[in-house]
């Protein structure tokens, strides 16, 4: 198996930060706010590896820092410190030292992101087909007919009625917006996909459909994914390995079934025991 992503010692602090930030925050101290400088330690000293085609779950409560990880990797935020390397066959990208153009290149050609809030991933001013076309154009597809064809294919794949591809996403239900967002993220066949709470707030039946779709895509296209969720059911169904976070730290990681059936850390034991 080949490695696609390597993250080492990633930290992210919101605020001016001080030398005591990391020492005075964390799960043992039950806070992520530094008592000295009031900065928020969203993530500290996170390391992880991801292999091609693998799904990694990041689980934790609100404020545990789980979304911070993918936001940093997708360049929505800049880390305070740490390294991350993305492997693309024989090329390597040192993610946190790239310039804006290089970052854009990776987002346009290699990465996909699906946000909990479709407003972040979709352009609500243009049609759903247009949203996909936009991404295809950035990936250097120029022929109108080809773009239209590919957009139709993707929407069919994600079960969005293609008769409605010229409608604005605002006319769609939440589940459908989410599927357009997934279609858009997938348009360029990215080897690396980030999913941030993609099923949160959706009907159970819609959730199941989207999870099913994600799994099918992963098997068909061998896409590596990082799935951020607070939902144990989602990691159980999707992720081979899972990381548990609290107050910006990784407190436990392992095979997903092991995390759920034989959790080692007191916090994970409590979390798993309180699941419905």
């Amino acid at each position: 198996m080949e490695k696609i992503l390597e993250v080492r010692n990633l930290s992210k602090v919101f605020g001016k930060g001080c030398p005591n930030c990391f020492e005075k925050t964390g799960p043992e101290l039950n806070t992520n706010i530094c008592p000295d400088c009031k900065s928020v330690v969203a993530a500290h000293d996170l390391s992880l590896d991801l292999y091609k085609g693998e799904i990694l779950g990041i689980m934790g409560e609100s404020g545990s820092g789980k979304s911070t990880v993918v936001k940093n990797l997708f360049f929505d935020q800049d880390p305070t410190s740490g390294h991350a390397i993305f492997y693309d066959d024989d090329k390597q990208y040192d993610l946190f030292s790239l310039n804006a153009a290089q970052k854009r290149h990776l987002r346009n050609h290699h990465f996909g992101m699906v946000y909990q809030n479709p407003h972040l991933g979709l352009n609500f001013g243009i049609s759903s087909g247009g949203n996909i076309a936009e991404r295809l154009l950035m990936n250097d597809l120029r022929n109108y007919k080809e773009i239209r064809e590919r957009a139709r294919e993707l929407l069919e794949r994600t079960e969005v009625l293609t008769e409605r591809m010229d409608e604005l996403p605002k006319n769609f239900s939440g589940g459908m917006q989410q599927r357009v967002q997934i279609a858009k993220a997938l348009a360029i066949n990215p080897p690396m996909l980030y999913l941030d709470e993609v099923t949160t707030g959706l009907d159970l039946s819609v959730q199941a459909k989207i999870l099913d779709l994600i799994l099918e895509i992963q098997q068909e296209m061998n896409t590596a994914m990082i799935v951020v969720t607070h939902d144990l059911g989602v990691v159980r169904l999707l992720a081979g390995r899972t990381i548990v976070m609290k107050y910006g730290r990784i407190i436990e990681s392992g095979l997903t079934d092991q995390i759920l059936e034989d959790p080692q850390h007191a916090y994970t034991q409590r979390l798993v025991a309180s699941a419905l």
Binding site: E54, A208, L211, L255, D262
Partner: protein, 240 residues
């Protein structure tokens, strides 16, 4: 036996540390046995003897507390499953080691064919081929054809169990772990399962199984390992 075992378990123990209750619960202690290609090793013993814990420890659903689990892989290398890297375990699970539990966990809304074919999809087999193979196995296990396209959520206990078995058998693992695979099956279906297990043994699959009925142990087992419930670790209880 002269052949080299595929799996050797030496001094395996498992206990659970429950932090909230400040307790240590022993589950299995000092378990030793070997499993051979084409043979079935049966684990027997009363409830609470830690039989399932041994299977889960080998599959790494549980983290073994101590002991060595040596697995000889198809590529000629051997590794200690108790300590192996998670990616190695995932790779073995998708290529070589199968586990049929008493309960069926599947994606909601997925058709039975697709549930059964999952292990094949994971190996990159196409949907079409996977479903084709799934239908064969389902037919073999007496699952009526009208159920193949339906999700197994509403199936009876026995039907669910057969779906679970079908999924475990379809990929023909080198090592198959079976946890009471026939617990809620009628005699006719049980006979079918016995035939299928025998056929897999004949093809060289190594098996480690827990059976509810002594009769099945008699019919299928080549080696029998008796486990006894571990002594409570009174002195080791954590006090907080």
């Amino acid at each position: 036996m002269t052949a080299e075992p595929i799996l050797s378990v030496e001094g395996f123990s498992k206990h659970f540390e429950l932090h909230e209750q400040a307790k240590t619960i022993p589950s299995s202690s000092n378990v030793n046995f070997d499993v051979y290609a084409g043979k079935l090793t049966a684990l027997i013993g009363p409830t609470g003897a830690g039989k399932s814990s041994v299977l889960k420890g080998i599959y790494r659903t549980y983290l073994p507390s101590s002991g060595r689990i040596t697995y000889h892989a198809a590529n000629g290398t051997s590794l200690n499953l108790a300590l192996a890297d998670e990616h190695q375990i995932l790779e073995l699970r998708s290529r070589e080691i199968g586990f049929v539990t008493q309960f069926l966990h599947a994606l909601p809304r997925q058709s039975t064919e697709d549930v059964v074919a999952q292990p094949l999809y994971q190996r990159g087999v196409s949907r079409e081929q996977g479903r084709q193979k799934a239908r064969e196995v389902l037919a073999n296990l007496n699952i009526p054809e009208r159920l193949w396209g339906v999700p197994p959520a509403t199936f009876s206990g026995g039907e669910k169990q057969r779906v679970n078995l079908a999924r475990g058998l379809i990929a023909k693992p080198r090592l198959l772990l079976l946890d009471e695979p026939t617990a809620s099956l009628d005699p006719t279906t049980t006979d079918r399962v016995v035939e299928m297990i025998q056929a897999m043994k004949a093809e060289g699959t190594a098996m480690l199984a827990i059976f509810h009925h002594p009769d099945l142990v008699e019919r299928l087992a080549d080696n029998v390992v008796t486990l006894t419930p571990p002594v409570a670790l009174n002195n080791k209880e954590v006090t907080s």
